[in-house]
């Protein structure tokens, strides 16, 4: 494998890894809505360990491995399978939901509680993943009553956010290109012009040298009996 092929492969691998990382982060962070019925709401003392990055950020100065009271919402899908959401304030940096109404949300969820026999269908907006092995839960953001389990929900928010991110990326790219074109490349252009000037000078010097050398070798030739040029 030539080095060029290797570099090309490396470039594409890096691109794919970057694309996948962005996709995974977006899939975790962007809201999605489940159609479920809320079966129970409660809070439970929860010990957070190495999975802390999937929980709300604790306040500065508190221990990473801590036990705290977290609100949970238990729910069931129309097909009977279950899901458990946590209901925590997000804090102010990441993920950027700026959610501070967890108590109200818990009250709303409690109000909408129902049983599979007499279901009240709700759409729970949430982000995050439920991975039982790591004890991580999606964070519920909003709960709204809907007319039935067959309602079709269109992900407007996700489309708007992804379009905004794409626009921001294009803006930054245009910004970088402008900087490159107007600020960096002109410097190289000047450097190049200087190099060319030096080269031209060098050529002139070399031409003189060549002429002198031919005179000298012609003079040498007179000693060897070679015919003069």
């Amino acid at each position: 494998m030539t080095i060029l092929k290797f570099l090309k492969l490396l470039k594409w691998s890096l691109r794919i890894v970057a694309f996948l990382s962005v996709a995974v982060v977006l899939q975790y962070t962007l809201p999605s809505r489940d159609i479920v019925l809320v079966t129970d709401t409660y809070n439970r003392m929860t010990t957070i360990g190495d999975n802390a990055m999937f929980y709300a950020t604790p306040d500065v100065g508190s221990n990473d491995h801590e036990t705290r009271d977290i609100r949970f919402v238990e729910a069931a899908y129309p097909d009977g399978s279950v899901i458990v959401y946590r209901n925590e304030d997000t804090g102010w940096v990441w993920p950027p939901y700026f959610k501070y109404d967890s108590s109200n949300l818990q009250a709303e969820a409690s109000q909408l509680r129902s049983t599979p026999k007499d279901p009240t269908w709700v759409a729970i907006t949430h982000y995050g993943w439920r991975i039982p092995f790591f004890s991580i839960y999606p964070n519920a953001v909003a709960v709204t009553a809907i007319s039935g389990p067959d309602v079709k929900l269109f992900p407007w928010v996700n489309i708007v956010v992804i379009v905004m991110i794409a626009l921001a990326a294009l803006f930054l790219r245009a910004l970088w290109r402008q900087f490159l074109e107007r600020t960096i490349l002109p410097v190289f252009g000047q450097a190049r012009a200087q190099v060319e000037a030096i080269e031209a000078q060098g050529d002139a010097v070399a031409g003189v040298a060549r002429r002198r050398w031919s005179l000298f070798s012609g003079w040498l030739g007179t000693w060897r009996g070679k015919p003069r040029m």
Partner: protein, 91 residues
């Protein structure tokens, strides 16, 4: 409370880096457009006339609506945060 302050400081820090960059970018685009315009009407002509044309154009740019709108870009993050917080918590 500390979290909000930290977040505000972060945003101010990011925007005080980003805002000058955006302002320079906008200026640079305006100058480039003027240069293109000159090149289209006076191909190959350089010198005092061109310098004057560019200087006048940039003076007009400094008074333009676009130049006056640029500072509002610095407010965008705050507006976005307020909008998201409102939608998440109060609707």
């Amino acid at each position: 409370m500390m979290q909000i302050i930290r977040f505000a400081v972060l945003i101010v820090a990011i925007m005080s880096l980003l805002y000058p960059v955006i302002a320079i970018f906008s200026r640079s685009l305006a100058l480039e457009a003027l240069e293109r315009k000159w090149e289209a009407s006076h191909p190959g002509v350089v010198g005092v006339e061109r310098d004057n044309f560019l200087a006048e154009g940039m003076a007009a740019y400094r008074k333009s609506l676009r130049r006056r709108i640029v500072p509002f870009a610095a407010l965008l993050p705050a507006v976005a945060v307020a909008a998201i917080a409102y939608l998440v918590n109060h609707t």
